[in-house]
Symmetry: C2
Subunit: 194 residues, 2 copies
DNA sequence: AGGTTAAGCTACGCATGCGTATCTCAGCAA
DNA sequence: TTGCTGAGATACGCATGCGTAGCTTAACCT
């Protein structure tokens, strides 16, 4: 009469994590609720409360369980290609549900500083390095003046990808990634535009 | 017995607009509510419902009533100084309550596309131009190669300011603005770093 | 002065999330 | 096989937002 077989342990926890992330996407951090998560997971609230006492707790747990840590591995002797690849990786990375969750929390930073603080415990924080990894690699090889790889320069690519995504509501196209690299990043590390 | 004098007309509307914006900052777009706005304005809900039928309507009205339109006016013959000034203006501009409201709506873009659409009606949209105004000015003067002032390059400064504000939760310092200009924008328009 | 408008006050029934308390029974282990 | 744990189902009283109703009366107009 129960309907379906009964989930337990890790399988159940994974389902609850997934429900929390899905619910976050659906209603936003401000409306994240125990009821909603439980409803989406098809589980009674009791089961949720047995493990967590607030929706943010479920969310932070879900983030800790599956936060992706990919890093670009510049291999080829191709600075431009590796930079574009790094931005491509950034975009793929930011499609991950837990990454979106982290961004949602960061966006509420001033309203919920407690959450940001608890997030630090989950991983080192300070967004993953994408173009920075590539730039440092080629600086080490002597193909870039290390003095030009400053904190600001390390952020140019990521900043433009975020800004464009924010403005247009869509991920930047492959062509735009190339423009970002050619027109913004490469000039900053000493390669004349054009 | 009512306590205080009775507000009417524009004075009342302005108070309700202000309450809506304050409430947005306090609880976020996801928890914006007629009850909350009315409570904050010290007015009965009836008064709100007499003019609007949902909290977003109040908010959009508030935005339309007071959206600031400042633009930098590059005057001096000082590209670097004017760029820094433009970024400074951007930061001042984004402190304005209605600008924060617009950003809040844009951030919920995928969840509430209807709001974004109604926002277009309020003003032309597509964020104000700050560094772009300056760059175009000096391109017209012939001090910058116009071919280098591409859409991507026009966004570099704003993108970095946003990214840094997002990462640190604070406005970039004056020194950082200078670094952005020196290390990212100027190289992109043909002035060698260093 | 008198009349009209709408702000202010209070209250309602409805819906939803809260946190908790049962109780039943499936899954697992001794 | 028996017994324990905890998932599943259901219900509760509480709080808050919803949208609407009614009434009183301050502010404005003529």
């Amino acid at each position: 009469m129960t309907g379906r077989s009964r989930r337990r342990g890790e399988e159940l926890v994974a389902a609850l994590h997934e429900a929390a992330l899905a619910e976050l996407d659906a209603v936003g951090l401000g409306r994240l609720t125990m009821e909603g998560i439980a409803r989406r997971a098809g589980t009674p609230k009791t089961t949720l409360y047995r493990r967590w006492s607030a929706p943010e707790d479920v969310l932070l747990d879900a983030i800790a369980a599956a936060y992706p840590l990919e890093e670009p591995s510049p291999a080829a002797d191709d600075l431009r290609g590796d930079l574009i690849a790094a931005l491509r990786l950034l975009i793929a990375w930011s499609r991950h549900p837990t990454v979106r969750a982290v961004q949602a929390i960061m966006l509420e930073r001033h309203r919920r500083p407690d959450l940001v603080e608890r997030l630090q415990g989950v991983f080192d924080r300070r967004g993953r390095r994408f173009t920075a990894t590539v730039l440092r690699h080629y600086a080490r090889l002597g193909q870039i003046d290390p003095a030009l790889v400053t904190p600001v320069v390390e952020e140019i690519g990521e900043a433009l990808v975020f800004k464009i995504a924010f403005d247009t509501g869509e991920e930047p196209s492959e062509a735009l990634l190339a423009e970002i690299v050619d027109q913004a990043i490469l000039p900053a590390v000493g390669f004349r535009p054009g």
